[in-house]
């Protein structure tokens, strides 16, 4: 917690205009990204990916394979960056940590009864501590959407603050699950609550609910981050997750990030893509840039 910051009144109305946000978000898609800007953008997007597997049927073997892929995205293309992190369930953290070794790739673990968050607070805290004790560098928590929608903002605030405390040195990503909040006003309010309660990242979605990340929702959150930065001087990171599977869309997100928060956020400390299939699409585009022709999807590993 920052001692000097004033906690605003979360029951006060926020003003986000739906038409305006959607119009502005669509403007970023009109930017034409070519040549070296495109190449740099694709490399950067690759480096911002939280390569994710969050399934009941996950096995240690699958996680190990994913960790290998994280470090060797496509060895046919020398000089590629690694992804930013591997994102798994708490039970897989130990495996992932061992497989990644000292590669510099972070291990992110979902926690707090992901994805629904329907559990008592002490269970959520234990879940978080388990992930951290097993070596998670980052924790992706979900907020209690039911309480939030009821207007119990203090409950949500306190819960995030408690999880932040349980995280210790691990960075906390707070998933708002924007698909369940529905309106941009609520997304903005939840973003503000999360940031003031101690979030290091705010994140759109679990990927289990549709719609997941969209550009307008992400823009609302980026604007919240900018306003928070101006008020407190503290940078908060952003992670859109779910639904971003194409390179072109990822580049649009980067344009939006660059024109909303600027260069200071254009690296994987401050921005991530939560995605599983995005990496291969970017690899395909990079090979196309290099060789001039598209290659079949069969040339890219699916892990």
């Amino acid at each position: 917690m920052i001692a000097t910051k004033m906690i605003p009144d979360f029951s006060a109305p926020v003003h986000v205009d739906q038409v305006g946000i959607e119009e502005r978000a669509s403007r970023f898609t009109k930017r034409s990204i070519k040549n070296e800007t495109k190449l740099n953008g694709l490399m950067l997007a690759l480096n911002m990916i939280d390569l994710t597997t969050l399934e009941g049927k996950d096995t240690n073997g699958k996680v190990k394979q994913l960790c290998y892929k994280a470090q060797h995205l496509h060895d046919a293309y020398p000089g590629l960056p690694t992804v930013a992190a591997i994102c798994v369930y708490p039970s897989m953290v130990k495996t992932a940590k061992a497989a990644l070794g000292n590669s510099g790739i972070k291990v992110a673990s979902v926690a707090t009864a992901f994805p629904s968050g329907q559990a008592p607070r002490d269970v959520k805290i234990r879940d978080t501590k388990y992930a951290v004790q097993n070596g998670a560098d980052e924790v992706d928590m979900v907020i209690s959407r039911g309480k939030f929608l009821e207007g119990e903002y203090n409950f949500v605030f306190d819960e995030i603050a408690a999880i932040k405390e349980a995280c210790g040195d691990a960075r906390l990503k707070v998933i708002l699950e924007t698909g369940e909040l529905v309106t941009y006003d609520k997304v903005r309010k939840a973003s503000d609550i999360a940031m003031y309660a101690g979030a290091d990242f705010i994140k759109t979605s679990t990927g289990k609910i549709s719609p997941a990340a969209t550009m307008p929702v992400t823009l609302v959150m980026l604007e919240a981050i900018r306003d928070f930065y101006y008020k407190t001087g503290k940078k908060i990171a952003m992670k859109p997750a779910g639904g971003i599977s194409k390179s072109k869309l990822a580049l649009h997100y980067l344009v939006m990030l660059n024109e909303t928060l600027g260069e200071g956020w254009m690296n994987n400390e401050w921005f991530r893509f939560g995605a599983s299939s995005l990496a291969n699409d970017i690899l395909m585009q990079l090979m196309k840039q290099k060789t001039g022709v598209y290659q079949s999807a069969n040339y890219f590993s699916i892990d």
């Binding site: 305006g20 946000i21 040549n35 001087g233 024109e259 600027g262 260069e263």
Partner: protein, 494 residues
């Protein structure tokens, strides 16, 4: 843990957002002839004046083509052609048949949209994104919309009989060359009038391309005549005895000259003149959207918009936030070659206009206003002006009173609703205004009290063929667009 920094010193950095790899639209997709003649009676004819003048690309100062200069004899030829076509063909044609021609023109504009967009940008300096996404599609929409009215005038004016006026002389400005031609020609034709249209001398090319389409569309000869030239040509149209109606869009100064010229004649007129629109932000507005609306309101088309929101009034409790966000937003704007698809601010239309804008920027500084411009680079060749905002402005400053017609914004703060209404109305102009608030009742309170022809609420610079557009006070009279736009081209006889 990050220490709280003094937040008014924090600044976001946007250099890389501005420096994208070039993404130019291809010039070769449009054909520009080395020389253009006058379009009279369905044919391109050499001017009797035997004179031509050059039209240049304001972004590079390169010559694009030579344009014929119509003299009084040429104007007379065009009016005679229009009169003959009116009496012999167009007036008698069943309205549904007229509509077919107008629909055909609309479709042909759509088919050749890319070519129109490229030429509009080369000739006028506006960003290709705007010509492609706004000017050309809106022009086509205008023809579509009025084509629909041609055979339904009895429903537009129930229980009245309508008849066309005759020959309409139409003079249009350089800021939206094709779109203004569409605004003028489409309703005139739908109501059964014939037309002599003169585009501005800086930007004649898309009107001449439209003439090519009109020729291809087999519109009966003489129904639309497009003649080119400068002020003298326009004066010859205004003063021609056989013209029944003058439709003019341009400066208030020329509008006054036209009114004097036609006083005592039977000529009807609609004038769409200058503006100095107030854009008003209340403290309960969605601020980020309002900022976006201010940017769109004043920097759209380099500020060459008669309804541009050039006076910004911000409620004092959000003044600092709005100005800070405006400055951030300015830093992300890409200024440069208009043909690049990423350009937000293109070239100023002419050297003369750039001189006027620079004169006002100097005046603003001399008046003691505080100027801010983003740090973007300006191309060496061509006419460019950085987007400019002034704070510490007084209502008595010239930059807050006079139309600059460029990317220059004057910002003032206000405290109460009544104060801002009074200040907003304190202008000889009354074309448009904008109101930003989350409160519906406040919107209605203001829209009934602001003396402006068009008032946008929580948006700005939105245009639609179905919506009337026009001014109060020295911003002119008559309406274009929508049902109201028909009244400007008909007589009600019963």
């Amino acid at each position: 843990m990050a220490k709280a920094t003094k937040n008014n010193t924090l600044k976001l950095k946007f250099d890389s957002a501005r420096n994208l790899a070039p993404a130019p639209e291809s010039k070769s997709a449009a054909k520009i002839d080395p020389q253009y003649d006058l379009f009279i009676n369905g044919k391109f004819e050499k001017p009797l004046s035997k004179k031509y003048f050059a039209t240049i690309n304001p972004a590079t100062e390169e010559k694009l083509s030579m344009i014929a200069e119509a003299n009084t004899a040429d104007v007379n030829k065009a009016v005679v052609a229009a009169r003959t076509a009116y009496e012999k063909t167009w007036k008698k044609m069943p309205p549904a048949e007229r509509a077919k021609y107008i629909y055909r023109i609309a479709r042909m504009i759509q088919e050749r949209a890319r070519e129109f967009a490229i030429i509009e940008t080369l000739d006028g300096g506006k960003p290709i994104r705007e010509s492609r996404d706004f000017d050309v599609p809106t022009a086509a929409n205008h023809f579509f919309y009025y084509a629909g009215w041609a055979d339904k005038l009895e429903y537009a004016f129930p229980n009245r009989r309508t008849e066309p006026l005759g020959v309409a002389g139409q003079i249009i400005p350089w800021n939206f060359p094709l779109l203004m031609a569409a605004w003028k020609i489409a309703p005139a034709l739908a109501c059964g009038n014939t037309v002599v249209l003169k585009p501005a001398e800086n930007t004649s090319l898309t009107a001449l391309k439209l003439a090519e389409i009109i020729q291809e569309a087999d519109l009966p000869p003489g129904v639309v005549n497009i003649i080119t030239g400068a002020g003298a040509t326009g004066a010859a149209i205004v003063n021609h005895a056989d013209v029944n109606k003058i439709a003019f869009t341009g400066s208030t100064e020329v509008g006054k000259i036209i009114q004097r010229a036609i006083a005592g004649t039977n000529k009807k007129a609609t004038l769409e003149l200058g503006g100095k629109a107030a854009n008003i932000i209340f403290d309960d507005a969605p601020i980020d959207k309002a900022v976006e609306g201010v940017i769109n309101g004043i920097f759209f088309n380099q500020g060459h918009v008669c309804c541009a929101g050039s006076r910004l009034y911000v409620q004092e409790s959000v003044f600092k936030e709005v100005v800070r966000k405006l400055k951030d937003r300015l830093e992300t704007m890409i200024l440069g070659e208009p043909m690049d698809k990423n350009t937000d601010i293109g070239a100023i239309n002419s050297k003369a206009q750039l001189d006027i804008i620079n004169k006002y920027i100097k005046i603003g500084q001399q008046e003691g206003a505080e100027m801010y411009q983003p740090s973007c680079a300006i191309p060496k060749k061509g006419f460019y002006c950085r987007p400019t905002i002034f704070t510490n402005v007084a209502q008595s400053n010239r930059i807050a009173q006079e139309e600059i017609f460029g990317p220059v914004l004057a910002i003032q703060s206000f405290r109460t609703d009544d104060e801002v209404i009074e200040k907003a109305n304190n202008s000889p102009y009354g074309l448009s205004a904008g109101v930003w608030t989350d409160k519906g009742s406040k919107i209605f309170n203001l829209t009934t009290k602001l003396r402006a022809g068009v008032i946008w609420a929580n948006t700005f610079n939105k245009f639609d063929p179905t919506s009337p557009f026009g001014g109060y006070k020295e911003s002119g009279f008559g309406r274009e667009g929508g049902l109201h736009g028909l009244s400007a081209y008909i007589n009600l006889t019963t």
